[in-house]
């Protein structure tokens, strides 16, 4: 399905968006730590308490949506610590979505909302107008009953969830919470033959993208509707991976360009798949 042309364009676009991001974030690059984490000052442009209130109203355009959630008991560990400036659900916000939207616009005919994205809890009625949502650090996800019900309805009606930035024992929490959302939910490991890896770019190998921060091999797990592999994917989990991290720093050179490209390709494929399946 993919050809060489999109990759060339994609490379150019990456460079282009990187430079744009540098210009837009001003001194941001000076605040980036060697671990790829931004300091609070660099993210302080959107105070947490206002994040949801600043949502752009629905106007029919594709808008990136990030799920906000309360953290569980283990939130004091790496992923959940407030020392990174923001709670785990907001990791990589808003630069990841801004960069990703640039890539989406440049590589596809999608005309998304370009200034970051919207933030919703899963029990927010507004979420239903955005059928793709992204959840970061779901290892710390501890949804309330109403949030569980909201996400359950969202997914069963046709919503699609991208779970990212979790690893190790985080899976146990994510899997347990997803079983609250969809009782009996069984994630299966996906391989390169799945349609989601051929919806826009042809992903030849899932092993070509390593985790940005840990020495672990990413695994892509999918939850199909009715647990039937012949039906559409409802959730895709980038377990042991953090493509949002790649998106966020694609413009500052922390990660090799080809790895950032791979992370973008996954993101583009997820969106195109979700919009057609």
């Amino acid at each position: 399905m993919s050809g060489p042309l999109p990759l060339v364009g994609f490379f150019v676009a990456s460079v282009l968006t990187g430079s744009l991001a540098l210009v837009r974030s001003g001194t941001d690059h000076a605040d980036v730590t060697p671990f790829g984490e931004a300091t609070p000052a660099s993210r302080g442009d959107v105070p947490e308490v206002f994040m949801q209130e600043n949502n752009t109203p629905y106007d029919g355009r594709f808008t990136f949506v990030r799920i906000r959630f309360g953290v569980g008991l283990s939130a004091g560990s790496f992923g959940g610590r407030r020392g990174r400036g923001l709670p785990p659900w907001a990791h990589d916000y808003p630069r990841a979505e801004r960069n990703f939207m640039n890539i989406l616009r440049e590589t596809t005919f999608l005309q998304p909302y370009m200034d970051g994205g919207n933030i919703f809890t899963t029990d927010d009625p507004g979420l239903t107008l955005y059928p793709v949502a992204y959840i970061s650090e779901p290892g710390y996800w501890n949804p309330s009953d109403t949030e569980v019900e909201g996400l359950s309805n969202y997914l069963q009606k046709g919503g699609f969830l991208i779970a990212d930035d979790f690893r190790g024992s985080d899976w146990l929490n994510f899997d347990a919470q997803m079983k609250r959302v969809i009782p009996g939910a069984e994630f299966v490991e996906l391989n390169e033959s799945h349609a989601i890896f051929d919806s826009f770019f042809r992903i030849e190998s899932l092993k070509s993208l390593a985790s940005p921060t840990f020495q672990v091999q990413p695994v892509y797990l999918g939850l199909h509707q009715d647990n039937d592999p012949n039906q559409r994917l409802v959730v895709i989990a980038n377990y042991n991976n953090d493509i949002g991290e790649y998106w966020e720093y694609s413009d500052v050179g922390w990660y090799p360009m080809d790895l950032s490209n791979e992370a973008y390709k996954l993101g583009v494929n997820y969106i195109i798949y979700a919009m057609s399946h």
Partner: protein, 763 residues
Amino acid sequence: MDTIFEFLFKYRPILFQEGDFTFASTWPSLLVLGAVAAVTIPTLFTYGQARGDSRKGDRTVMAVIRLGLVAVLVFILFQPTLVLTSVVPQRNFVGILIDDSQSMRIPDEGGVSRADFIRTTFGAEGSELLTALSDKFALRFFRFSRDASRLNDMSELSYSGTATNLGNAMVRAQEELAGVPISGLVVVSDGADNSGEVLAESLLPLQAGGVPVYTIGLGEEELARDVQVSRVEMPRTVLVGTSLVVDVIVSHQGYSGRTVQLLVEDTGALLASEDVTFEGDGEPVVTRVRIHAEDAGPRVLRFRVAPQEGERVTENNVRDVLVDVVNDAEKILYFEGEPRWEVKFIRRAVSDDENLQVVVLQRTAESKFLRLDVDDADELAAGFPKTREELFRYRALILGSVEASFFTHDQLDMIADFVSQRGGGLLVLGGRNAFTQGGYQGTRLAEALPVFLDDELSTSAEPYYGELFVAPTRTGLTHPATQLGEDNSDAVEARWASLPPLTTLNPITRLKPGATGLLTGGPEQERDRQIVLAYHRYGRGKVIALPVQDSWIWQMHADISLEDQTHEVFWRQLLRWLTDGVPSQVAAQADRELVEPGQPVNLIVDVGDSAYVEVNDGNVVAMIRTPSGDTMTVPLDWDVEQDGHYEAGFPTTGPGLYEVSVNALRGADTIGAALTYVNVAPSDEEYFNASMRGATLRRVADQTGGIFYTPETVANLPEDISLTGAGVTLTEERDLWDMPILLILVLGLMAAEWGYRRKRGLI
């Protein structure tokens, strides 16, 4: 009125119409003038000279009265005469055509059937009418229903004909009597012609031959109390699982205000029922019945209303309709010009519908297409179809948000031809590159659309964005595509009112002439601001406009419950309607919906190639399977007058469903196949619209120079034929001087003068 006329003028009006007026007196004109003057001048002089108590006015009045009296007497003296042309007795023939159809058994007022009149008038010895006719003419009798034949004895009438063909009967009788002098034809019938033929054409040879037709109308022009299932508007073929809204027209006489139940049955099982409330007398009620076509195969659905108290004809309370419920998968191409949610949610809505196959071609980037649900690797491999053969294999096309400049000129023409020539369905969705925003103005696609693209808002340089609370139009309340599973109009309206708003980038407000709006939308308090769903016929197919960008909101919105099926139902119905009636390369049907046992069936097959260009050199063969399991093969011949049109007849024997499989070949290549059914069953058609058609019978008489009669006026028939009929004739003179009106005038004028004198005291 005629009786009074005849009393005053001695003869019936028709004699004055037909005859020439003259004076029989042979006195020379000068003598006449002299005589008139001799009477008039002294009269005027006498009144002018008279004096006494009279004034000038009195003398004038009396002079006028006296002159009037003189004029009447002079008129009488000149022997007024009517010169008539009448037929020579026993030298001319009259054909009497007697209706032998079932409707003659219908009992009319007083319980006397129409056939009773025939028995007593034409079948009984000593009938006055028959005797009078026999005295003047040589009579030849014919019976007719669907066909006409000579009648040698009245006992041959069985009143069992299941159709009436009036025109054919008259032509046949004229042919039989060719070569002998015909005075006229007498048609004894209720006039309920149901042959479907144009009566005026049958009258032409009669008019040309100068043969007047005298019609005797039997029965009441309006049945006093009757309920009739007049018509059922239903497609002949539907997809299995389709929810149909069937229009049933129920008529009545004499049951105003009554509510009856219309039942729909499939081999005895009740499918639906609907209450029908009758309004004014004779006003037909259009009732919409919702039916779900669940079981595949040919079904004979029965629509009936139970007999009502006081109804004399109950056979017309039932109507059987054949519908072929097919289990095909209708293949639809959905071409979307950009990634967007409609693709996902339309696919989801119809994913469980085995009868709809939506093939998606989605342009995700420049020259990059995503294909979904294609049959094989080659399908749409080169993007949007570039040839008619490639596009016309689909039965419907959905165009999403894709700019006009994407297509070549030929492709835009091809899309328009897809509808107008191939008969496919086209659904155009809204979006940032659709309608005016997609630059379609001036293209052939714009011509095919049911809406105008030149709205002020649409053509504005500023992008438009509007929220649409949707409401059904009056038509939309009952249209099959917009029912949302509700069972009456109020519920449909309430359901639409409760749906969350959609949005649009295409402010379309004007329908083209002939287009129909089904849904409108706008701000909550102004839901008719713009068009949301509209359609029209374009050539052989139909085009539907749905200028919204996010119908998926009816699936995802927080106000829509998880169990809600609104979005699924809307899209399934919309796409089923989009493909409804789309022709195939080979299309077969019988020329009539209902055929009687023993009647031949005329099979009509239309054949087109893969680009739907008519094929005239095809080898078209039908295989007929009768209800008893026998088979016969019938080759069809090309009708040289119509491209791609093949016809053949085949006989029927017993009642039941006849399965007709048609195969069309061109050389050794198969063009296509078609399957259809013919319902062969005894017909009750004679009982429908069974009142006497006075207008038809009057028209037949008027246009041929004959006269219309009822049983009450038919006694004049023999004399009328002899005066107005054709054939061998002679001239006859009849005196008018002894008309009672003249005596009345004389006495009246004398009494008037006397009365005037009395009043004025001049006696």
